[in-house]
């Protein structure tokens, strides 16, 4: 009512009425007809819905949401056509990792994992802790689900590193690349974790494991990219100049100077990536990711306090294992770099 005069004054009345009010009732219309709304002062904010009331030619807010949705759905076949084959290997990797971790007998797998912890950390304390944690998880019959979670993390972290390190290198080499990628990284870090899942559900079938794989990787890849970029940029300028003065090619500089000197930072990024994929793997259980997250979800859904808590503690144990092992590896790299 408040804005009808505006359209009249602009001489748009005829154009407005040409549309005729044939749109279905909106919530605002309903409220207005019950007399509950429209009393909020003389001048409501000129939102789309208010303006629509004054001039039916103007779209309603719900049309904007619908347009976004329809646009996405219209693009879907093409997106799917491109993304499906590209991401298919991810499904295979996740499925085979899950198969591997659940079908190898525990008396082979556990010693192998404990040895792995020893090989990267070279720390007795950490290795002992890993062994005890696995034993504890096994005793309470959570070993299999924990290993499922672990296998997802292995796959997603490896892919994050394989993709993230080259992206970080590209960013460190070019200001333009850095400037175009940074906003994407910011977006990925600030987007609420659940929001990742919505478009993915539309794109892929919920039974495909790549669905949660992509969600985890998108979320967890950010720190390894950032820290690779940072690490390479932080390499001492004098050392780079020396490398140039001795006639190193860009490739030699990268492999002999920049990457080794950036390694502590890159490892810190990998540690963060592992932690973030662990955080995401719980949310990903909403879209059928197996593992401890499923139990947490069951705890919430059925209000089974014990189930949820035990699974939660299992996740904490996994987190501590992964964190300590990767930090011990990082410390080892650091020491080698500084050579005490």
């Amino acid at each position: 009512m408040a804005y009808e005069g505006v359209f009249d004054a602009l001489g748009l009345r005829e154009w407005c009425d040409a549309a005729g009010d044939n749109a279905p009732l909106s919530m605002a219309d309903l409220l207005a007809s019950t007399g509950a709304a429209g009393e909020g002062g003389g001048l409501p904010f000129p939102s789309l819905d208010v303006l629509h009331e004054a001039c039916p030619q103007i779209v309603q807010t719900r049309d904007v949401t619908a347009a976004l949705e329809n646009g996405f759905l219209a693009m879907r076949p093409e997106l799917k056509f491109v993304l499906d084959p590209l991401t298919q290997p991810l499904s295979w990797m996740l499925d085979s990792a899950l198969w591997f971790f659940t079908s190898v007998p525990w008396w082979v797998l556990l010693p192998a994992l404990i040895y792995l912890a020893w090989a990267v950390s070279r720390s007795r304390g950490v290795t002992l802790f890993v062994a005890l944690s696995f034993a504890a998880l096994g005793v309470i019959d959570h070993l299999e689900v924990a290993l499922e979670t672990l296998s997802i993390i292995f796959v997603c972290t490896s892919i994050s590193v394989l993709l993230g390190v080259p992206i970080g290198i590209a960013m460190s080499r070019s200001k333009t690349v850095q400037r175009s990628i940074l906003p994407v990284l910011d977006l990925l870090q600030t987007l609420p974790t659940f929001v990742y899942l919505i478009p993915l559900i539309f794109l892929f079938s919920i039974t495909e494991s790549k669905l949660y794989g992509i969600a985890i990787i998108l979320y967890a890849i950010v720190p390894v990219i950032r820290l690779t970029d940072l690490g390479i940029r932080l390499v001492d300028r004098d050392v780079i100049e020396a490398a140039d003065a001795f006639g190193m090619s860009n490739r030699q500089k990268l492999w002999k100077v920049q990457l080794p000197l950036a390694l502590p930072n890159i490892m810190a990024g990998v540690n963060q990536t592992i932690m973030m994929s662990l955080a995401m793997v719980v949310i990903a259980s909403l879209v059928s990711a197996p593992g401890l997250g499923v139990l947490v979800l069951r705890g919430i859904r059925n209000l089974e306090l014990g189930v949820g808590l035990v699974a939660g503690i299992g996740i904490v144990l996994l987190a501590v294992i992964l964190d300590r092992t990767s930090k011990a590896a990082l410390a080892r790299v650091d020491r080698a770099g500084k050579a005490e």
Partner: protein, 344 residues
Amino acid sequence: MTMPKIALRGLYKIFGPDDAAMMAHVRGGMGKVDLLEQHKHVLGLQDIWVDMQPGEITVVMGLSGSGKSTLIRHLNRLIEPTAGEILLDGEDVTGLGADALRRLRQKRMSMVFQKFALLPHRTVLQNAATALEVQGVDRKTREAAAQKWLKRVGLDGYEGRYPAQLSGGMQQRVGIARALTSNADIMLMDEAFSALDPLIRTDMQNLLLELQVELKKTIVFITHDLDEALKLADHLVILKDGAVVQQGEPQGILLAPADPYIEDFVRDINRARVLRVRSVMGPVQDGAHAGDVDPDDTLETLIARSGGETSLCYRVVKNGEIMGQIDMRDLVRALVPRVSGRVD
């Protein structure tokens, strides 16, 4: 005169986004201050003409901001010149492509840095072998060469250590060994000893002179320290605000500074220790001689020998040949810095 190893011909460097366009202003006579104020470009080097002879140490000296570090980085084109030519054995290297430039840096020039710039994640031996590694020499050969030079600079037994485990002086020895291992006949030294303690610095200067007697490299040495410059230089170039104010034999510069800037520089120098008999001696005259001295003796040695007696006269003899004579009164006069007729 032999062909200079390195010759700079009218070298200019202007820092800024549109340096080539600024050349017109500079050639038109615009100075550093005006260029900065009116066009926001920094004049780094202007009209540098320097010849560096093979087998000599050319020292470029100047205060910070004088453009000396910029100058040395032009020689291996870590910095690109705005105008002018850099002749290496008579061949202009300013037009070299990326590959040719890399080969030049690998084979013909090596560099020693103020902050050592060693690779912290590699051992002393691996660091010293860097240059050969870049050239693609196999591990055994390059480590044998590195070993040899490490021994030569006095680091026998430190091959397995990491740079952080060594003192500054030792790290710079590694830096020198790394440069020598490349077998390049030109060695660029950018304030190589400036970060070291005075005593260690003297050691390193002696080491360099000792190596130079044997190796006869063409060395370009940057420093802000006049004592160091006078000690090392065969040819001394003094830079101020990106321009050469005076260049020549160091003794000559000391005895005849070209302008007040250099006079200020040389005022605090211990002249007796720097000046040599050959720079002060005169032609042989008849008369009694108190003894024979070498033309390369410092005046200090001679004063000590004469016991402070100023009435004496010495014969200057080198390899049995009489070069001239030196009167102690001339010697004492040479110790007083020349003061031009300026009013402070």
